[in-house]
């Protein structure tokens, strides 16, 4: 570390340490000092405050479906990859896709092979404009979150960083075991999977891109995808 960099750093840390010589009372404990009270809340403490999530897979799936509907995302439960492939083909025909973006993934292989439109592989370096000109993207995800209706993607496993944001229609394919109850479970998964070496991006996508900046009227597709379709497959 060079001295030019270390000096503003040390100066700022010094100001912080000087300021913190006095501990502020805990919220709601006007005169208490540190150590005399229960420790500050941690992960597990949050669950009883947040919305309840059903115990069974079916309940969680229903909850995800309700959230997706409120968010104006399309959510379909399908029996197997063949059904997902059929559904994607239907969308491609209906929306007349000329070019689609996707990525290599064992789970995706049987679904996206030879679909018709030209393919941009977003998991290898690609020209930006080519991805921008795609009509849609088909990707996997890391998880679906029942409590929030979110799709969790990472730069490592889901075709990079831009594929889920640049094309106007994002189709996400998920498998049965990827449905998780809540954000805490998703963070636990990230820690267990990538703890030593996190991907450069972890993104929770909750519905299609939206804005209410003009007269607070909801408009979908502000900058990102106008449509978000989530296909959950219950079987192999």
């Amino acid at each position: 570390m060079s001295t030019t960099n270390s000096s503003p750093r040390e100066a700022m840390l010094g100001r912080i340490r000087e300021a913190l010589k006095t501990i502020a009372p805990r919220p709601g404990h006007a005169h208490a000092t540190e150590g005399t009270h229960t420790p500050p809340p941690r992960d597990g403490d949050f669950r009883p405050m947040l919305p309840a999530v059903g115990q069974s897979w079916d309940e969680q799936c229903q909850q995800f479906a309700r959230n997706a509907e409120l968010l104006k995302a399309t959510f379909k439960v399908l029996p197997n990859p063949a059904a997902a492939r059929e559904e994607i083909q239907r969308i491609i025909r209906e929306e007349n896709w000329k070019r689609l973006a996707t990525h290599e993934h064992p789970f995706l292989q049987q679904i996206v092979r030879d679909l018709g439109p030209a393919v941009v592989w977003a998991d290898r370096p690609y020209p930006k404009m080519e991805l921008e000109s795609c009509d849609g993207a088909v990707t996997t995800c890391e998880a679906l979150i029942a409590q929030t209706g979110s799709v969790l993607v990472t730069s490592r496993n889901c075709g990079g960083r831009a594929i889920s944001i640049l094309p106007p229609h994002h189709i996400v394919v998920a498998s049965r075991e990827q449905l998780l109850p809540d954000l805490l479970a998703a963070f636990a998964l990230m820690r267990q999977k990538y703890g030593a070496h996190y991907p450069s991006m972890i993104s929770f996508i909750t519905g299609p891109s939206r804005t209410g900046d003009i007269e607070r009227i909801l408009v979908l597709g502000a900058h990102g995808p106008k449509r978000l379709t989530i296909l959950l497959m219950t079987g192999k």
Binding site: M49, Y198, M201, T206, S209, V219
Partner: protein, 471 residues
């Protein structure tokens, strides 16, 4: 300087409180927000417990800020991010300008960041010869109009579709449409090109996670995702108070930010960024810079009484419920942060004496304290600011008035004389009421002065006590 900000505030406030159409427009927007917020609050099993937990999370982080900041920076640097330490706004601007110059940047795209407004970054970049585009729709609209954001979360909430259409036609040669969807699509089309052209993306930071050195950005439009994914350089500007301990803290704070901030259950994109493009990744920036900004924050940290102002997650909930904000509007404040949080914070960032007037622009109703998701007692902090301002610089007239009051209250005879004189002289007050000669002008310009009672309580008591003892 001190009179300028206060005088401007007063004259603007007078103008806008008389603008009924503007007030009704803001009221309508905020009523819509309140309905949605209440629906989202109801989804929590225990919103009050969540507020207490959120307050404790931020308390724990802020009171061990040195430790969490070092942990955060260690993880960031180990993944190839470059961390910069900026003591003040000027240092932060210089750092970002240097990064742009060293990398031969031409076009800069920004996602919404109030911290960048705080350091007046856009002006500095434009003066440095760079083209800067705000990509958040609301921010882009106010940028095109040459205005500051009206509200920290809803920058263009004061504008009607016609005004937005007008500025799009004028500045973008856009077709004359007024439908919100069509207007949004115009901005989308323009921004798409900018995103692909830009060499550098500048974002703010909603939370910094100490556990793994990732920054979290919350947004609805996807513009921050594009800003941080497409250009070859990503610069994130972060106030040092934005830290949380672990990702798990976000499981609570993300839904609370969305609920309190916009009446949404969860914001559209909640994204963690932990570095430039990693080996094996196909896209993302080649360089990732994080600029840590102090700019008065350590001074506030040293103030134990007001330290918890640093717990703020910038949701804007206190603005939305504030009767002052609703009536005077966001631009009147003349500050980066409006509403109660702005009135409390600005004196710490820009000087107490110049900005103390904001702490008096309050009805002390306490709506801000009650709504704050991290339980900052804003209404009392306004009082703290008032007290501190008076302590540091006691106004002469006030001191004289209170000295006189003290003498009078300690001498019943003087008090009696004063009361009697008052009753006699009050009719004369009518002659000057509301004019420049009126000593009570600040009050009587918009209100009626209360009338002295015909008899004092003392006299009344004397009369009635004897009546009662007889009956």
């Amino acid at each position: 300087m001190s009179t300028t900000a206060a005088v401007q505030f007063k004259s603007q406030a007078r103008r806008l409180t008389a603008d009924l159409e503007h007030r009704q427009w803001i009221f309508k927007a905020l009523r819509g927000y309140e309905t949605k917020r209440d629906e989202c609050k109801a989804r929590f099993q225990n919103w009050e417990a969540a507020r207490q937990a959120a307050a404790e999370i931020k308390h724990d982080t802020i009171n061990h800020l040195d430790r969490y900041l070092e942990q955060f920076v260690h993880h960031l640097e180990s993944r190839g991010a470059k961390v910069h330490w900026a003591a003040d706004a000027r240092a932060a601007r210089e750092i970002i300008l240097d990064i742009a110059r060293q990398n031969q940047v031409r076009f800069i795209i920004k996602s919404k960041s109030m911290t960048s407004e705080e350091i007046h970054l856009n002006e500095a970049l434009e003066q440095g010869g760079f083209e800067v585009f705000e990509s958040d729709l609301g921010e882009y609209i106010v940028q095109l109009r040459g205005e500051p954001p009206y509200h920290i979360v809803f920058p263009a909430m004061h504008l009607k579709r016609g005004q937005i259409s007008e500025v799009f036609q004028k500045k973008l040669q856009a077709e004359p449409v007024t439908d919100p969807e069509a207007l949004t699509m115009i901005a989308r089309r323009v921004m798409r090109q900018k995103f692909c052209q830009a060499d550098m993306g500048i974002s703010g930071v909603n939370f910094g996670v100490a556990e793994n050195g990732m920054i979290a950005i919350t947004e609805n439009e996807g513009n921050a995702r594009l800003t941080t994914n497409l250009p070859r350089i990503h610069v994130a500007l972060m106030g040092i108070e934005k830290l949380v301990r672990t990702m798990d803290d976000l499981a609570l704070l993300w839904p609370m930010l969305a609920t309190a901030g916009a009446g949404q259950w969860l914001t559209g994109y909640n994204t963690l960024y932990g570095g430039p493009r990693m080996t094996g990744e196909s896209d993302g920036p080649e360089q990732f810079h994080v600029v840590l900004l102090d700019n008065g924050r350590t001074r506030l940290l040293a103030d134990v009484e007001q330290r918890d102002v640093l717990h703020c997650i910038r949701c804007g909930a206190c603005l939305n419920v504030c009767p002052i904000f609703r009536n005077v509007g966001g631009h009147t404040y003349g500050t980066t942060y409006q509403g109660p949080i702005g009135s409390v914070l600005t004196p710490h960032l820009r000087g107490l004496q110049d900005w103390k007037h904001l702490s008096y622009a309050s009805s002390l109703c306490g709506a801000c304290s009650e709504t704050c998701p991290v339980k900052i007692d804003l209404a009392h902090h306004l009082l703290h600011n008032r007290r501190n301002a008076v302590k540091a610089n006691p106004p002469l007239m006030e001191r004289l008035a209170f000295a006189g009051f003290k003498v009078m209250m300690r001498h019943p005879a003087l008090y009696q004389i004063g009361m009697t004189l008052g009753r006699w002289l009050q009719p004369l007050h009518k002659l000057v009421q509301g004019t420049a000669l009126d000593p009570a002008r600040a009050w009587t310009r918009t209100r009626q002065a209360p009338r002295f009672a015909g008899e004092s309580f003392h006299q009344w008591w004397k009369k009635n006590r004897s009546n009662r003892s007889e009956s």
